[in-house]
């Protein structure tokens, strides 16, 4: 049985002269006829000379142009992304293709989800950015090649390069993606005892931190830390010790987390600060450790546990002393004083505040002096030692005036006034009570000119008279 396949031409003239393919593709017309031979077919009118010349010119020009191959025409016809995907597939890099395709699709979907009102809508789409696509293609193909050869270190470096590249172009979602894939690759590499995995965790952690996902970032940093433990000699490309970096990152992330939960749950916040302090100790960075201690101490103090606060703050003070950083010492003294105050040990508190003033004077830090003085003044004021209070407030007031710090001036002015009034009020009321002539004169004098003569010894007669 052999049914002869019918030739295609038999169904009608619609089956085509091939000539239209040489033309630029025109939008679909209602008739299937090519437009080039219209005159010949219709035969209604012989074309005028002008038209014939035009037609001839067209043919001549076309003959001059080299004929394009199918691939070349498709470059004109398809989008850049389309062509790139085709090239990639033709070279056999299908994994790169699906990854790239998935990335582009993901961006489109997110854009659709965000809607036309959002920032995402107006962002340039990845599929229209040729440079980035080229970079992606080049590196992904390298990755796939390396994958086939089982060279995972190469895979890692390529992905890492991509991640860095997109970091530099501010495409966070892409750099995140590649950092994550870096990590996935690195965890498969067993030969280097996990150095790459450690680096991967570090990068993912940093990326997550940047996008605000602190807890996940902390988890990654913890992995990073665990992997580097026992390998203190590992270094990054920029000559930083990995283990040390891990501690620093962890300290920072724990502090950040504790900051977040400071308002809602102070004890949780303290827990994280304790972790941060431990990590900072391991990092070997004294200043970092000191700061961590200070933060922890302050948190304890706020939580109503001045005893524990003091131990940490003292540690902080010690570190500051060893670093000879006067400003920090001052800060430590201030915090310790506050803790003592809370504990009720006013004397101790005053001692540390005085130390604070001293340190501040040494370092010529006017602002700190002013603050220290005002603290001291407040302390004395509450103790009822108004003379000293007035002294310190006066000093604080003068310093703020010389610094021309409006806010400080007004606050210290008020405090100064209050202390001065406190100081005066005892004598003043005594005078009112006695009510003799001299007393009255002094009172009037004060009323008139604000001359303060209440301190002066009263003549004996006045006193006796009233007693």
């Amino acid at each position: 049985m052999a049914a002869i396949l019918p030739a295609i031409g038999r169904h009608g003239e619609h089956l085509v002269s091939q000539s239209p393919i040489l033309l630029n593709p025109t939008p679909p017309s209602k008739s299937a006829h090519g437009s080039a031979n219209v005159y010949v077919h219709t035969g209604k009118r012989y074309p005028s000379k002008k038209e014939r010349e035009k037609e001839q010119r067209k043919v001549r020009l076309r003959a001059q142009q080299s004929e394009l191959s199918k691939n070349q025409t498709s470059y004109y016809r398809n989008s850049y992304k389309h062509n790139m995907c085709l090239d990639m597939l033709c070279e056999g890099f299908h994994k790169s293709f699906s990854e790239l395709f998935a990335l582009i699709k993901m961006q489109n979907e997110e854009r659709e989800k965000a809607g036309p009102e959002s920032v995402l809508w107006n962002q340039e789409l990845l599929e229209n950015e040729c440079d980035k696509l080229d970079m992606l293609r080049e590196q992904l193909c390298l990755v796939e090649n390396a994958m086939r050869q089982g060279n995972y270190a190469e895979v890692y470096t390529c992905r890492f390069k991509l991640a860095r590249y997109f970091q530099s172009t501010n495409d966070k979602w892409l750099s995140d993606h590649f950092f994550e894939s870096c990590l996935a690759t690195a965890t498969g590499i067993k030969t280097d005892e996990g150095k790459m995995a450690a680096e991967g965790h570090c990068n993912v952690g940093l990326a997550l931190e940047e996008s605000g996902d602190l807890h996940d970032a902390a988890k990654n940093f913890e992995n990073f830390f665990a992997l580097t433990e026992g390998h203190e000699d590992w270094i990054f490309d920029n000559d930083k010790l990995m283990h040390c970096e891990a501690c620093i990152h962890l300290t920072r992330i724990y502090t950040a987390i504790s900051d977040v939960c400071k308002e809602s749950d102070l004890s949780l916040s303290i827990e994280f600060l304790t972790k941060a302090t431990e990590m900072s100790l391991k990092s070997g960075d004294k200043q970092l450790h000191g700061e961590a201690c200070f933060r922890l101490g302050s948190a304890y103090e706020k939580n109503g546990d001045p005893e524990t606060a003091l131990t940490y703050l003292n540690k902080y003070l010690e570190i500051c002393r060893s670093l000879r950083d006067n400003a920090e010492i001052g800060k430590a003294c201030e915090a310790i004083a506050k803790a003592f105050e809370k504990k009720g040990k006013i004397e101790e508190s005053i001692r540390y505040l005085e130390m604070f003033v001293e340190v501040a004077e040494q370092s010529q830090d006017e602002k700190s002096i002013s603050r220290a003085c005002s603290d001291l003044g407040t302390m004395f004021n509450s103790l009822g030692r108004y003379d000293q209070a007035v002294d310190y407030f006066n000093r604080s007031y003068n310093i703020s005036r010389s610094l021309n710090d409006v806010e400080a001036i007004s606050s210290s002015r008020v405090l100064f006034g209050v202390a001065a009034a406190h100081k005066m009020v005892q004598n003043f009321s005594q005078h009112v009570e006695l009510g003799g002539r001299i007393c009255m004169e002094r009172l009037l004098e004060w009323k008139d000119n604000r001359g303060d003569e209440f301190d002066k010894e009263l003549p004996k007669s006045e006193r006796i008279l009233n007693l």
Partner: protein
């Protein structure tokens, strides 16, 4: 029933259904179809006429005189509706015959569908493309490459002129063009077309869909012929992976609802469960068996690839209710997976095998 062309009424020119030459016999049942000889009648009967014989009568008998405009319009609509149904029917038949590998028989059906499509949609319509594609594929299958090229070029031109053409059609067109070029041993060109197929299919279905996997498979074959083994290997791996995922999803779905399937609610459940249609079944069998054979004969191939493809085949036969074959492949999978480190994978095969045992 015999005819004599000279005895036809003036102006009536009866032609053979298949080759358009003057007709000498008539179908005795519908009396509206003519052939040049018994040979063509037989071919048409096997291909499509058996199914559409009675349906052709209302389409081909002369229009009776209808008095009112309304009636004429009604008849027109009815005709159009019938024609569309015919397109659908003939096309499905042709497609099915193609999947069964009966290229010869698919031709009459495709021709019929093309004829109706031209009647309904006109000559330059995109609706004609599926018919051209079936014809093209049948021609490739029959080894008539120049004819296939003619059909496919026509389809390509139509697609080119229709910018809003769907990605599914484009993908199919590129696949056929790729197959054509592969048959002509022009592998670079073929690869380019398969790449186009994958691209359009991915646009339509996503990169991980079984409808995209066909492109990967053909591409892998082309690379294989070009002796680029590692690329081909990786592509075969991809195809296996896609089918593996899809089949295990289907198996899971079936295992999850065994009671409802046999129960009174079986009918209502049918729609939710995505199954394999006939074409996909045929494709799965063909593709997976090809990969399996290749893996088995390949000396240096990794055991996990063989294990995976065996498992996929076992699942496929399980889904097709061919438990013996499923068990057979399951066992092969287990033996292959002994060298594999991935514990979870080995366990999944063993578990699956247990499920098969229970079915009996």
């Amino acid at each position: 029933m015999a005819l004599n062309p000279l005895a036809n009424p003036k102006g009536v020119d009866l032609k053979c259904e298949l080759c358009q030459k003057p007709a000498f016999i008539q179908c005795t049942q519908c009396r509206v179809t003519y052939y040049c000889g018994v040979e063509h009648q037989k071919a048409d009967w096997l291909g499509i006429h058996e199914k559409i014989c009675p349906l052709l009568v209302p389409l081909r008998t002369a229009v009776p005189f209808l008095a009112s405009e309304e009636e004429r319009q009604h008849r027109q609509e009815q005709l159009l509706h019938r024609q569309k149904q015919m397109i659908e029917l003939t096309r499905t038949t042709g497609q099915k015959l193609l999947f069964e590998g009966k290229h010869e028989q698919a031709v009459p059906a495709a021709m019929q569908s093309l004829r109706f499509a031209i009647q309904v949609y006109g000559l330059a319509s995109i609706q004609l493309v599926p018919s051209y594609l079936i014809l093209g594929e049948a021609s490739i299958g029959l080894g008539r490459l120049s004819q296939a090229e003619e059909y496919l070029s026509q389809a390509q031109w139509t697609v080119l002129k229709t910018p809003e053409c769907s990605n599914a059609i484009r993908s199919k067109l590129h696949r056929n063009l790729g197959l054509l070029n592969a048959a002509k041993v022009e592998y670079d060109e073929a690869l380019r077309h398969f790449a186009g197929d994958i691209y359009h299919a991915s646009e339509e279905f996503g990169t991980e869909d079984i409808r995209t996997s066909g492109g990967y498979f053909h591409m892998a074959n082309a690379f294989f012929r070009q002796n680029k083994m590692d690329t081909a290997d990786s592509l075969y791996e991809e195809v296996t992976g896609i089918w593996y995922e899809h089949l295990s999803r289907l198996v899971q779905a079936r295992l999850a609802s065994p009671a409802t399937r046999n129960g009174p609610l079986a009918g209502s459940n049918e729609e939710e469960e995505e199954g394999l249609d006939e074409a996909q079944e045929a494709e799965a069998i063909q593709v997976l068996n090809a990969i399996f054979d290749m893996r088995e004969n390949q000396a240096g191939s990794a055991p996990e690839s063989l294990a995976k493809v065996s498992h996929a085949l076992a699942m496929l036969y399980y889904l097709l209710h061919d438990v013996d074959k499923a068990k057979d492949f399951g066992r092969k999978g287990v033996s292959a997976s002994e060298g594999v480190q991935d514990e979870e994978f080995s366990r999944s095969i063993v578990e699956f095998l247990k499920v098969c045992e229970r079915v009996v």
